[in-house]
């Protein structure tokens, strides 16, 4: 299992942001994280990537505990945070080179060129990040997540704010990456889930209300549309 989460809790005072989450994710499959705003999707992802410390529970990435063996675990994670925070004052390649150095990648310039090509940044590669449009910024975000060729990709709303053309491109890219890696994405777009996800977890108010494959979930709910299932479970 490349991701294994057991009984993860995150409390803020009395509010339970994440309440007893357990799941596993396998390589070669794309796991979709669904849920209304504030359901705890981002909080869960932030704990998996080591940004937030959990109140209790355990999580392993590629067999390494993200809490007791954080540095090793982090080497296997590629992470795109929500809203794609980037340093606007840096040039695209300069930024990617900074990220690459933190992973101590050998032959970095070649790898940067490779990644730039992979995410379709070639026409904008000499610009400052602050000058890029939302779509290209998203690509920079993806590029920094995959530069060290991680086995686990965690993408928090990777397609929010993109135009329809960009959507297709980025989805295709995620799908390609998902053939070899374990990918977890969160999203609000149901068509996207149907288009790229193999497994689905639905969260509501910090609790997991569904954890199944896409087909399994549909079978269980008599072939209703995903939208209806989502509303039934979270409304």
């Amino acid at each position: 299992m490349s991701i294994s989460v057991k009984n993860l809790f995150k409390h803020y005072d009395k509010q339970k942001a994440v309440d007893a989450i357990s799941f596993e994710a396998r390589p070669g499959r794309i796991l979709g994280f669904l849920g209304p705003n504030g359901a705890g999707k981002s909080t869960t992802m932030r704990m998996l990537t080591g940004y937030l410390a959990p109140t209790s529970g355990e999580a392993e990435i590629a067999g390494k505990s993200i809490f007791s063996d954080a540095i090793e675990a982090k080497k296997h994670i590629g992470y795109l945070p929500e809203n794609t925070p980037l340093y606007p004052d840096m040039y695209v390649k300069e930024f990617l080179s900074f990220v690459g150095q933190t992973y101590k990648i050998v032959n970095l310039p070649a790898r940067i060129d490779e990644v730039v090509k992979m995410v379709g940044l070639t026409p904008e590669q000499h610009k400052k990040i602050g000058m890029l449009s939302k779509g290209y910024r998203q690509r920079v975000g993806l590029a920094q997540a995959i530069i060290h060729n991680p086995s686990v990709l965690i993408l928090d709303e990777p397609t929010s704010g993109l135009d329809p053309n960009q959507l297709v491109d980025i989805r295709q890219l995620i799908k390609t990456l998902g053939t070899a890696k374990t990918v977890v994405i969160s999203t609000h777009i149901m068509q996207e889930v149907e288009a790229i996800c193999d497994d689905i977890i639905i969260m509501n108010k910090g609790k997991m209300v569904a954890n199944d494959s896409l087909e399994g979930l549909k079978k269980m709910h008599q072939q209703q549309s995903l939208e209806d299932i989502f509303r039934k479970l979270t409304a």
Partner: protein, 241 residues
């Protein structure tokens, strides 16, 4: 760690922050040292740099918080802190990298003032009549004082998302650490332990180094001071998660 240090330093140098703060520091110190009659060396009549060395700590109280205020506050606000902390680097490496980058900038502000030393040694009678030992000591003292101020600035920046608040807190901390202990030691209530309190303050150790005698006790004081604040910063970032 080197990658973070390099990024920090480059972002200082590629934005106007570095040039404006250092520029203003040099402008103000130059004006006070050579131009304004109350503090000017030319009016004072003695070719020595003591005035400069007693003045700079006050300028540092504003210069250094201005350099360090963005260190963590900006990353928190922009969300890039998440990007940084999910890399395979230890928190202490991030703290130290940011600290060193700011300290290098402080050094960049100090280096051009060496020209004052040169000019004054030329002005002396006979030429070159200046207490070089004391000047070297004072520069080391200034650097150590800058290191202590920087550690407080980094600490303040980790307290908040707001750069203005970070600036005000760190300026207040610097002022207190430099002068507060001296002033408190004069309170009647503290008379019996006045010496101990004075020794906690930066001013006491700074003056001692400025005399040109590099005492290991002063050196240890400054190193402990910086390490302590960086350690608290590291722990605080860890707890805030």
């Amino acid at each position: 760690m080197y990658a973070v240090f390099k990024r920090e330093l480059f972002s200082f140098l590629s934005s106007m922050v570095a040039y404006i703060t250092i520029g203003i520091f040099l402008l103000v110190s130059g004006l006070l040292l050579w131009f304004f009659p109350d503090t000017s060396i030319l009016d004072y009549g003695y070719a020595e740099l003591d005035g400069f060395f007693s003045l700079v700590p006050y300028l540092f109280m504003f210069l250094i918080p201005a350099i360090t205020m963005r260190a963590f506050a900006e990353e928190r606000k922009e969300g890039t802190f998440e990007l940084l902390i999910t890399r395979p680097i230890h928190i202490w490496q991030i703290v130290v990298a940011k600290y060193l980058a700011s300290l290098v900038l402080v050094l960049f502000a100090l280096i051009p003032t060496l020209i004052y030393y040169y000019s004054i040694s030329k002005l002396g009678f006979p030429e070159g009549n200046i207490d070089s030992g004391s000047v070297i000591g004072s520069y080391i003292g200034l650097f150590l004082l800058g290191a202590a101020f920087t550690s407080m600035g980094i600490f303040s920046s980790a307290l908040t998302k707001n750069q203005v608040i970070a600036f005000v807190i760190s300026a207040a901390l610097c002022a207190f650490a430099f002068l507060g202990f001296d002033y408190s030691s004069q309170l009647a209530a503290f008379q019996s332990i006045g010496n101990i309190i004075r020794n906690l303050g930066i001013n006491q150790h700074y003056t001692s180094i400025s005399r040109g005698v590099l005492d290991t006790r002063d050196l240890i004081y400054f190193i402990t001071f910086s390490v302590l604040f960086l350690l608290i910063t590291k722990l605080m970032i860890g707890v805030k998660r």
